[in-house]
């Protein structure tokens, strides 16, 4: 067993140096002001120590300029830290457009992963170096939190919806994965690892790791038929149910009049709780049954991937306009 005494975590993602930089700035501010206050206290308390029993202090001389100074200067530093921190956070929560999508399901007490090509892993995820990767995460039970210290990333993983975290590894190696949100008895053992590989090695690894289902979208296409979605959602069934081609990323108008963006969470809800997201125009024909309990999280991911793959409607000989008409 390795026994070390590290004082600083490894840094292995594009985000890590950014978080570290602002951390060091914060640490500098904290160290400066703590030291300043400590020195002032010691200096003043010794310099003005009581010299005779009935001595009292001088009159207080109120100093407006001091009060203003020690309000404004900290405020300036605080706002600066806010702005810098907000910038890093904004980037950390917005995956870049070319990020490859992986799926994560947390459950008491393990992590399940699905690669885009359909390979599945438990607790240990393999990814290529130098490639932005986004994880769409959900939980089967309680709240967990996906935390990879070496990447400086963390995001809660909730039941009933998808949350996203992304990273781009800058180093090959194996890095710790923790669950950071308390989730019950074995919370501290709900760990694993992320193995970052050279792209070539990753390809080889993918080839070796068998994928029972094939790429997610393909598996989803099969499910789409198996679960009878296709009976209603056929390209020629405009009257029965909405056509799903070109849907992803569009805005739909619901029966309630609300406009919502079609993302993974919307698709998830449409499948599991169709009544909550009835599309405008289908009020009378809202016959879609709920699929709660009939689909595992992994299958949901496959269906959603399939519907997303219908995004380039042109290749299916249709445009979103046509399907909407």
């Amino acid at each position: 067993m390795k026994f070390g005494f590290p004082l600083f975590p490894e840094s292995a993602s594009t985000l890590a140096p950014q978080v570290d930089a602002i951390y060091f700035f914060g640490l500098g501010v904290a160290a400066f002001f703590s030291t300043l206050i400590a020195c002032l206290i010691f200096y003043l308390a010794i310099r003005y120590r009581r010299r005779s029993e009935d001595e009292v202090g001088k009159r207080e001389k109120a100093a407006m300029w001091l009060e203003i100074a020690w309000s404004i200067i900290p405020l300036g530093i605080l706002l600066f830290m806010f702005a810098w921190g907000a910038k890093v956070y904004f980037e950390a929560r917005r995956p870049p457009g070319d990020a490859v999508e992986y799926f994560v399901t947390g459950k008491q007490w393990m992590w399940k992963f699905q690669h885009p090509e359909g390979q599945r892993e438990i607790n240990h995820l393999h990814v290529p170096v130098g490639q932005p990767i986004q994880l769409k995460m959900t939980s089967e039970d309680v709240i967990h939190s996906f935390f990879v210290p070496a990447f400086r990333i963390k995001m809660d993983v909730l039941p009933g919806r998808y949350t996203t975290v992304w990273f781009e590894a800058t180093k090959t190696g194996t890095f710790r994965l923790f669950c950071a949100e308390y989730c019950g008895a074995e919370h501290s053992r709900m760990g694993g690892s992320i193995t970052v590989m050279e792209p070539r090695d990753y390809e080889q690894w993918l080839a070796r790791a068998d994928s029972a289902t094939g790429p997610l979208a393909l598996a989803g296409a099969q499910l789409f038929e198996a679960k009878t979605c296709g009976t209603c959602h056929r390209p020629d069934s405009n009257l029965l149910a909405p056509i799903l081609h070109g849907l992803f990323g569009e805005e739909v108008t619901l029966a309630s009049g609300d406009k919502v963006l079609v993302d993974e969470n919307y698709l998830r809800e449409s499948i599991l709780d169709p009544k909550a997201t009835v599309v405008s125009g289908y009020e009378a024909k809202a016959v879609m049954p709920t699929f709660v309990g009939q689909l595992s999280e992994e299958e949901l991911v496959e269906l959603i991937s399939y519907i997303k793959s219908l995004g380039d409607a042109a290749s299916h000989g249709e445009t979103p306009e046509e399907s909407a008409g």
Partner: protein, 535 residues
Amino acid sequence: MSERKNYLNADYGVWSWLLTKDHKRIALLYLLSITVFFALGGLMAVGIRLELATPQGDLVQPDTYNRLFTMHGVMMIFFFLIPSIPAVLGNFLIPIMIGAKDLAFPRLNLASWYIFNIGGAFTLWAMLAGGVDTGWTFYTPFSTSFSNTHVIATGVGVFIAGFASILTGLNFLVTIHTMRAPGLTWFRLPLFVWAHYATSIIQILGTPVVAIAILLLAAERLFHIGIFDPAVGGDPVLFQHLFWFYSHPAVYIMILPSMGVISEIITAFSRKRIFGYKFIAFASVAIAVLGFLVWGHHMFLSSQSVYAGMIFSVLSMLVAVPSAVKVFNWTATLYEGSVSWETPMIYALGFIGLFTIGGLTGVMLSTLGIDIHVHDTYFVVAHFHYIMVGGAIMGYLGGLHFWWPKITGRMYPVFWSKISAIVIFIGFNLTFFPQFMLGYLGMPRRYHAYPDDFQVLNVMSSAGATILGVGYLIPLVYFIWSMRYGKKAGANPWGAFGLEWDVASPPLPHNFDQTPVVEREAYDYAAQHEERDVA
């Protein structure tokens, strides 16, 4: 002068205590209750630190460990820190400081103590019957649909104790508004009273929200009404909003009274009027108000929107300003003062240092880019212990040492009290400083077992906790000892300013023979001194 009856020897017997309406006796009743809860919470901490001395998780079962840290949090927060200074020192001192004979509603005051203990009894029962393992934060849906421990009994205990807190706050507000002695205008009030005024507002406005959250939690747990668990149509994040809407301001319920104590001690042991009186007074109110607008900083990674995160971040930064203003004003008070290093002053100066570190690490946590990495790690654990133990408890102990001669009429041994203050300071830092490093290294909180390379820092922390524990035991011994054997203290052993130092030690049952008339601003040592010289 012949011995007059004071509040301690005016009556004897158990019932004279259990049915007392005297705010001073009720304060002592509270002191007894919260000391018991503190000891229990402390025992849990011993279990936690022993387990974490080795990485394997080999001392207790994971389930036991989860109960330990949950019960440690519940005991310390709801049954020790929240009542500590207000219910003991506030109860004892506020009427005397404002020249009143008692609080506005003495019976209600006694009722609060009973309510508090009933809440405590529920929670204790839950603990003895097997405990609870949700963390003191009770996050859903774990607490509503997954935990099979005594969530409801604990929740009911916290719910009941909340009413004690509301009633105490209400009592203080009415008292401070209506019962000030002639001449005691708002800006002549001791800052201790201002701090309690601000605290009371939070207690009254915030506590009902956590009570509602607990009720909803119980409703979902018992009747499976879908509120928080998505499996039955609820929203788990809603619970976090409700919970933190109270529990963030609750941090200020714990720290504001402590800040009030520090203002009293710093002035008394510098014999100088506080620097920037109005700034400190308004800073308390500003903290109380702004404190209600920052709860979302516990939820930056909860799926809350990016923009909500930014708003909560910038508001959290703003709360840091009044806190900084206080620290600077306290420090400036020493300038041209007459500083004596008595025990309470050692606590107060220790408070300023530790609170500064706690506050600045809080700023780091509010910085979104840093929080991504340190949220839910030991960095957070270290931060809030600097505020709550380094801040709130240092203030509480400083206050106890300051007013002990007033409360009991006796002095504690000075030498031992200074030793213990220093032991506590060292033990505290050794316990919690390494936790900042553990946090940045990535050790998540609430971990029963951890990777080997975190062990050295954890051992340091456990060693520090041992020292800290000894530091807390010493005052327990000498305080009890002093009640009987301590040197008699006069009315004003420190040469301090304030109405409480004009009355006898221990005070008369009704505090004052005649209602005092206040002619001076608070802490006006210089003027008082000149007058005495003339006389």
